[in-house]
Each structure stands twice: as structure tokens, then as C-alpha cells.
């Protein structure tokens, strides 16, 4: 079964491109920091806004920090934040969806209203809202991002729970004395797995976009850490004299977000061939 899915996935050319880009960036995040010459925070005030040279392959920023090292370390920070944020949000979203769908009634009503309101707000505004309460910083950025994922996942799980819980085989499990926990996690959840995987993949891209937007506004990851959005923020001042400072992190964000959405589309085709509509 997994082989079939994989075959269908690689049959689409964009999926292969997206997958390759993502693997390259993941490698960059994992082993890149061991390969670069400079520390991402090492300043060289005699050599600020330097252009491309053999010493600094992408030049330096306003504090003379090596841009290549910063982009490479930025891959680690930016991707870690989006993976961790989406993971946290997914767990909460899945749990809320299970509770809401399985118990129904007042609980369901309350959770559904809350999710509707969360869905009505753009992700970035919710993130700003959370940062307003918790304050800025790397960990708080993750929490802020996780909120975005909760409502969409919760709704997927909720609707699949509702459609499955009245099936005979679930009732049989109930009669045979299986615990609610077991029914939910062994029988209900796997049924919505493919939708969940597709949604999580798309969310990873949006999470990266939201995290870098927050940092760009100065509300996310704080200096001196190398985060792509924060790098763009400081590059704004130097756009006139050294545009590569903005181009390098900007292209990196765009490529990673693009690869996540392409992979998401590919997975959605591969996991559920019936849903082939776009």
C-alpha cells in the first residue's frame, strides 16, 4: 500500500521538484551548520554590507555577519519553529476534534463555536494576538503558530468522528467493551489520516510563512538569532546598497513554502486518488 502511494506521489513531476528542494533544505538545517566557516552571530564591523566574495559567498550584513552562515543557521531555526509549532497545534487540534465529535452535545457546540471564531481570523492576526499576551521570543512564536493549525485539524477529525462513530463496527467495539480511548485512536483516527497528513503538510508551509512574518515585524524570534524573517527585516534598511541581504533569506522562505504546498498537493493526489479534482 505504501509503495502504491509512493509511486503515485513521484509520478507527478512537481512533487519530485518539491521533495528535492525540501530534502536539500532539511540537509542544510541538519548538517549545514557544521560546514560553514563563520558563526552566524560573529560580527566583523570592518566589513559590513560586503558584496559576494570568496571569503563570504553571500556577502555580509549590517554587522558584518556572514550571510551564508546566517541563511544556513536560519534554516535550522525557521524549520524547527514551524515543525514544532505545527506538531503542538496538531496534537491539540486532533484531541479537540475527537472530544468534540465523540461527545457531541454542549461540549461539541462550545468547541465548534470557538473553532469557527478562530477560523474567521487570519493566522497572522491570531499569532500577533498570542504574542501580545505571551511576549516575543522563539518559544512563544511556536505557540503562536500552533494556534493556527488547531481549528482546521479539529474540524477534519470532528467530521470524520461523527461519520464513523455510528458505523456498526464501532458499535460492536463498544459492545465488546473496548475503551473509548481505544475506539478513538485505533478505529476512528486512522480513517481521517490521509486528510490529516495533507493538511499538516500544507500547514507546515503556512507556519513557516507566519513565523517569518512575525519575526519580520519584530514580534517573533529576537536578535541576534538568525531567522529568515528577522534577516529580511534588517535587510530592508540595506535594500539600496546590498540587495542580496534581502534576496538570500527571501528566496529561502519562498522555496521552502513552495515545496511544502507542492508536496501537500502531491500527497493529496497520492493518498486519495478519488479526490483528484484540481
Amino acid at each position: 500500500m505504501y509503495r502504491d502511494i509512493f509511486k503515485r506521489f513521484v509520478k507527478r513531476k512537481p512533487s519530485i521538484y518539491g521533495g528535492t528542494i525540501l530534502i536539500l533544505f532539511l540537509l542544510m538545517a541538519l548538517i549545514g551548520p557544521f560546514l560553514v566557516k563563520y558563526e552566524p552571530t560573529a560580527q566583523d564591523l570592518h566589513n559590513v554590507h560586503a558584496g559576494i566574495s570568496r571569503d563570504h559567498l553571500l556577502g555580509t550584513d549590517y554587522l558584518g555577519r556572514d550571510l551564508l552562515s546566517r541563511v544556513v543557521y536560519g534554516a535550522r531555526i525557521s524549520m524547527f519553529i514551524s515543525f514544532a509549532g505545527v506538531a503542538m497545534g496538531s496534537i491539540i487540534g486532533i484531541l479537540l476534534g475527537l472530544i468534540s465529535g465523540y461527545y457531541g452535545g454542549v461540549v461539541d457546540n462550545l468547541i465548534s463555536r470557538l473553532l469557527e471564531i478562530m477560523l474567521a481570523f487570519p493566522g497572522l492576526l491570531i499569532a500577533i494576538f498570542i504574542v501580545a499576551i505571551l511576549g516575543t521570543g522563539t518559544f512563544n512564536t511556536m505557540i503562536a503558530i500552533s494556534f493556527y493549525v488547531v481549528p482546521s485539524l479539529a474540524r477534519i477529525v470532528r467530521s470524520s468522528v461523527i461519520s464513523i462513530k455510528n458505523n456498526e463496527y464501532v458499535q460492536v467495539c463498544d459492545v465488546f467493551g473496548a475503551s473509548r480511548f481505544r475506539i478513538l485512536f485505533k478505529h476512528v483516527l486512522p480513517n481521517s489520516l490521509s486528510l490529516l497528513i495533507v493538511n499538516v503538510t500544507h500547514s507546515l508551509g503556512i507556519a513557516l510563512l507566519t513565523a517569518s512574518s512575525l519575526s519580520f515585524l519584530g514580534l517573533g524570534v529576537q536578535p541576534p538569532y538568525a531567522e529568515w524573517g528577522a534577516m529580511l527585516s534588517s535587510a530592508r534598511e540595506a535594500l539600496r546598497i546590498n540587495p542580496i541581504e534581502a534576496l538570500a533569506p527571501g528566496v529561502a522562505i519562498t522555496l521552502v513554502v513552495l515545496s511544502f504546498s507542492v508536496i501537500g498537493d502531491g500527497l493529496s493526489d497520492a493518498l486519495d486518488p478519488r479526490l483528484k479534482n484540481s
Partner: protein, 306 residues
């Protein structure tokens, strides 16, 4: 229809109450004492006590909420900690820029997005279709603030055609509106393309084709009309995203709009301003969604009957 409209308008009330309550509790969630944040650390205890009473913070939480809502209805959103001005004055100064940007961007995105989407759908599976879908995908994936900087680099710095700082003259609006609209054009193109392809596969289109209706008439009167109906809600829902996008665009172009006001307020922990801007943003979303639903009921009578 009137019955549907009334029902839909009444539904807004509980949502408004819930949202306002969430925004209100924001201040209660902040670690630390809001009065100390307001007055600073070394203020005599009597002053703090007096301020607490003046702000109604010695009352039970539910009563405080009522007072807060009552003040809002009287146009009193409190005083900004950092600007030392009434919040309402600040917002009145800042919101026109943001609304103009968002409205301009939505008009741009409707015109170009629907046009490109229709072209892509009509040229389904041809190179033209691939070009439009690829560009749309790129538009969605590029962070708005990065695209804005690229536009500044190209049009303001390299070609020296357009200004890129502030909103002094009408030409100052061109770059921010275009950049804000770009991402939305991508989304609209994709949505229109998918909806149009769906419509083109329907039986009534086949019937129209078979009975010899000229392709241009069929497209304009049958296909386009049915494509636009689902798009009305999408446009309204995108408006929220546009306001969020405006926050980033305002920073790139140094525009003093609502977005920058919110970001500054969050950086300075200026809670009255945060509360008011978030409340205003949510009010706009709720109203826009309401209008979209009502329009939807108007163009598609099946909705209001249900």
C-alpha cells in the same frame, strides 16, 4: 429572503459577545498588574489604589466587562499607555490608510484573478494554463513582505519609477496596493480556475453546447454567472487575510496604518490599543462575512430557503 437576513443578523450577536469577551479577558491574562504597567513601578500605594478604583478594577470581573462594553458604546476605548492619547483618536487617524490599501488590493485581485482564472480554465491543460497556475502558486508561496521588497528594488530603486515610502501622493498607493493584491490574485486565479472547470463540466453547459448556443453567449451568461456565485463568499473571506497582509506591507512601505499601530502596541505592550485594534479587526471580519452571506442569499435563492 428577509427572514433569512434577520436570522443571519441575529446570529452575529452571540459571536460578537464571545469575541468581545475573549478580547476583554486578554488584559486579565497578562502577567503582572495592569495598573503598575500603566503608572510605573515607584508610585505610592494610594495612587495605585485610586487608579484601580477609577478604572473599575476593584469590581468583580463580570461587572468590569459590562463597564468596558458600556464605555465602548460611548466611544471610550481608553487611553493609550505609550501615546497618552485616546485610543479612538489614534484609530481614526490610522484606519483610512489600511482600508484604502485593502479595498484597492481586493479590487485589483478581483479583476485580474477572475480574468486569469477564466483564461486558465478555458485553456485547460495547455502551456497557458500551466504558466498561469505556476505563477499563481508562486504568488501564494512568496511572503508578502519579501515580494514587496522585490517591488521596491525593481520599481523604486532600479527603475526609479514609483515612490516607496509613505502615502503622500496618489502614486504612492500604486506599489503597496499591487504588492498586497499580488498574493490575492494568485488565490483568486486558482479558485476561479477550479470553479470554472467544475461549471464547464456540468450537464447544463453540455446541453447548451449541444443545442447550438454560441460559445461566447454560453460563457458569459451560463458559465461565468455560475462561477461568480461561490466566488462572492471567497472574496469576502479573503478580506480578512488582506487586512493581515496589510500589516506586513505597511511596515515595508513605512505606512502608518492600523497594522503598524497594532504591531507598535504589541511591542510596547500598550494594552488599550491592542484591545481596541483587535476588536475593530474582528468587527470588520464579522461584518464582511455577514454581508457576504447576505449577498450569497441574494444571488443564490436556494441558500435563503434552506
Amino acid at each position: 429572503m428577509i427572514k433569512y437576513a434577520i436570522k443571519r443578523i441575529l446570529q452575529v450577536i452571540p459571536v460578537l459577545i464571545l469575541v468581545s469577551f475573549i478580547v476583554f479577558t486578554l488584559v486579565r491574562l497578562i502577567p503582572g498588574d495592569p495598573v503598575r504597567t500603566l503608572l510605573g513601578e515607584d508610585v505610592p500605594i494610594e495612587v495605585i489604589q485610586a487608579t484601580r478604583e477609577r478604572l473599575g478594577l476593584d469590581q468583580p470581573v463580570f461587572k468590569q466587562y459590562i463597564i468596558w462594553v458600556k464605555n465602548i458604546f460611548n466611544g471610550d476605548f481608553g487611553t493609550s499607555f505609550s501615546y497618552k492619547q485616546p485610543v479612538l483618536t489614534l484609530i481614526a487617524e490610522r484606519y483610512p490608510a489600511t482600508i484604502i490599501l485593502a479595498t484597492g488590493a481586493i479590487i485589483v485581485s478581483i479583476i485580474f484573478g477572475i480574468l486569469f482564472g477564466i483564461i486558465a480554465a478555458l485553456c485547460h491543460n495547455t502551456p497557458i494554463d500551466y504558466i498561469f497556475t505556476t505563477v499563481a502558486m508562486l504568488a501564494i508561496s512568496t511572503p508578502g513582505f519579501f515580494f514587496a521588497m522585490l517591488m521596491v528594488l525593481l520599481f523604486a530603486i532600479t527603475l526609479k519609477l514609483l515612490p516607496s515610502v509613505g502615502l503622500k501622493t496618489p502614486t504612492h498607493y500604486i506599489l503597496p496596493i499591487l504588492t498586497l493584491g499580488f498574493q490575492q490574485i494568485g488565490m483568486m486565479t486558482r479558485m476561479t480556475r477550479t470553479t470554472m472547470l467544475d461549471v464547464l463540466n456540468q450537464d447544463y453547459i453540455r446541453t447548451a453546447k449541444a443545442s447550438g448556443v454560441p460559445p461566447s453567449v454560453m460563457l458569459l451568461s451560463n458559465a461565468l454567472k455560475n462561477t461568480l456565485i461561490p466566488l462572492t463568499t471567497i472574496v469576502a473571506l479573503r478580506f480578512g487575510g488582506l487586512l493581515a497582509g496589510a500589516v506586513l506591507i505597511e511596515k515595508v512601505f513605512s505606512i502608518h496604518g492600523m497594522g503598524m499601530l497594532l504591531v507598535e502596541a504589541v511591542s510596547y505592550r500598550d494594552y488599550p490599543v491592542i484591545q481596541a485594534t483587535i476588536l475593530l479587526f474582528s468587527l470588520i471580519f464579522i461584518l464582511v462575512t455577514l454581508v457576504a452571506d447576505l449577498c450569497y442569499g441574494l444571488v443564490d435563492p436556494r441558500i435563503s430557503v434552506k
